[in-house]
Symmetry: C2
Subunit: 450 residues, 2 copies
Amino acid sequence: MRFGFVNKQNMSILTDLYELTMAQVYFKDGMNKRAIFDFYTRPVENRSYLLNAGLEQLIYYLLNIRFSKEDIQYLRSTGKFDHDFLEYLKNFRFTGNLYAIDEGEIIFPNEPVVQVEAPLIEAQIVETFLINTLQLPILVATKAIRSYSVARGTVLVDFGLRRSHGTDAGMKAARASFIGGFAGTSNVLAGKEYGIPIFGTMAHSFILAYGDEEKAFKAFAEKYPENAVLLVDTFDTLKGVENAVKAMKSMGMKRFKGIRLDSGDLLKLSIEARKILDASGYKDAIIIASGGINEYKIKELLDNGAPIDGWGVGTELVVSADLPYLDCAYKLVEYDGKPVMKLSKKKVTLPYKKQIYRFYKEGKIKDDLIVAYDEKVKDGKPLLKEYIRNGELVRDLPSLYDIRKKALENFETLPEEMKDIKRTIHYLPQISNKIKDTVEKIKKRIMGKL
Amino acid sequence: MRFGFVNKQNMSILTDLYELTMAQVYFKDGMNKRAIFDFYTRPVENRSYLLNAGLEQLIYYLLNIRFSKEDIQYLRSTGKFDHDFLEYLKNFRFTGNLYAIDEGEIIFPNEPVVQVEAPLIEAQIVETFLINTLQLPILVATKAIRSYSVARGTVLVDFGLRRSHGTDAGMKAARASFIGGFAGTSNVLAGKEYGIPIFGTMAHSFILAYGDEEKAFKAFAEKYPENAVLLVDTFDTLKGVENAVKAMKSMGMKRFKGIRLDSGDLLKLSIEARKILDASGYKDAIIIASGGINEYKIKELLDNGAPIDGWGVGTELVVSADLPYLDCAYKLVEYDGKPVMKLSKKKVTLPYKKQIYRFYKEGKIKDDLIVAYDEKVKDGKPLLKEYIRNGELVRDLPSLYDIRKKALENFETLPEEMKDIKRTIHYLPQISNKIKDTVEKIKKRIMGKL
């Protein structure tokens, strides 16, 4: 069993109180039959598709969830739990099954991304962490591949650690953006733990401390002759480029890595900077842009011919600024062999344990079909795979590099119109007649009772 | 030295690569004189003020930052660092000073919330973590107190753990929202670690598993007769309220805690639900609303007379949905005794080590004045306090409950027009002549050189 880096802290009580109070009632009532829960997303305004990520941490959690002595002690101290239930929690294990869509696969609204099949109490208790651990990676992987989709081969690097929502988010964002086509991250711990390439340039403070651009550039290039990306906008960007050239010339450098623009009119400045660099014989020196970068700006700048070779994408990537949360849910869809659903005018819950089949035409996704797990479907690629059976891992976990490779291949199967970052196509998967009929039957039954 | 709960993981290399590469250049060049860095926020569109939070974790980090053997090993493996510098890192300690505005204090744009005074290398290396650890708490504490400001004494509970950006964000959000006037959280681990009251109701899955509202309500109330908040909207909200009443009556309950509405027209439904509860003799039963709640909806519902007693505020709180990141910076403002600044048309950096004085009139904030640290100011409350001196904690840390109490008192000092959640007043603090003159001098000097 080979894991990449995962957060190994004990997260059993990083959960909503109601998971545990409901569990205690289930426990007392002997309500612990086989339950199926779906984790799925609902349609959103500005995404035609999502890129799946975050599964590995969930798997680690399910295989390792334990209630420690300390946890039990705290729960006892709340006065909300009785002895028998706390004894049960002491020996708690996840003994169920996990079906999931691979990380790096394209996903659409209403599709179960993850399906938990387990005794009700277990399936209920893992809800909060499950949603918490999947949402952000999906958001960031999706945001990342949107940048990748318009970057035309230019290099994308995650610069977002400082603006991510805490430490765990910083790690998750580095991993998810790498899956989504980024070349690396500025996050050193992510480099260490995930084996992701790490990148960095220099800060304005570096220039200010030296008090003089030429001096600062020389100092840096002396230590890092191969890797100096010189930040040129501390005082005046084009003067800064000239100072960079002057510094490199005075050191006798035949080539240097490049420059970074962090403010101002990036189109104009990159064109002018390119001219200066080329005219000085530094045709190989690259131009990196940063500062409020997102997929829309990348597209606009490249569409207008900005000679930018790489991007430091920070804040808007790691907080998924134009979509900082997913409308996602973890819903009971079957209990004790019976399909169930919540009644709702707008929101869909699909009963049954399910499978999703993906159909392709000429290498592009044609349609997804959601069926009950026991329905036979010809052809089509089944998307939900069994990762955990009876609490044991039964599937090899791919390496992060393999997930990334797959993600970029999967991205190519998207119909071209769905890749458009400015237009949202609200694709919804097909649903089998068996499921549809059951939805109608349950609706009628509920309405009849009301 | 008494700390509340803090994340004790070693975070020394949870940092941007450039902090370390710049540090190595400084190290090699002997550039390690006393530096002052300011952490401050810039004006934003939809906030008139911010509520400070997150300091305790920063203090813990500064007192404990160490580079482990493993960290050093990884850094060596990158080929970017040489032996001498890695030896230096082995013995790295933060030996500087930290000046900071208290948690729970009102802050405005351009004010140094935190000021680090330390040898340049140390002050540089802590940058990334410092911003990461402060931004989210400030965002969430501010978002929380905005809800508090319109809640008219109704109870606010953080329900956001599942939608927070990872595990650390879930903990930070619970703590910060408590500071911002929330009564508690659904997050059990936050309850344990911070001693915050924990709350919970029940999920739709609970109703679905029992297959019948009355049965489910009874099961829950039997176990939790004092604390059953019954979720009534699984099928039809008002029928759900009737079923709740029926269940409680059949159990002979003279009173019960209340109900939760999680969807639909909350104004209409809460009014109707109130009628049903009152008519049934359950005048004490409270109504909790949840589902996409934010300060705007709370205000609108209460303005329209919705008889709602409490709120489960989730997603929009914990991701600070209408402001998912702060425009904030950590900038060098003085090096080796010399004031410095970056030249920028729009963005302000204020040179010098500074102090902020707050002036009040009739109990309300009248003005803030930013001065150089050595300027004498009469009256006024100094906001920056010395927390760390020469790497040692020199100030008692207040308890979380004291921070919360202070925050709510401080909130009352805000001028009424600044409390308006729909209007943004762009208040900027006053700046002393000494600082202004220096800004002009530096500008001239830089422009002259360009």
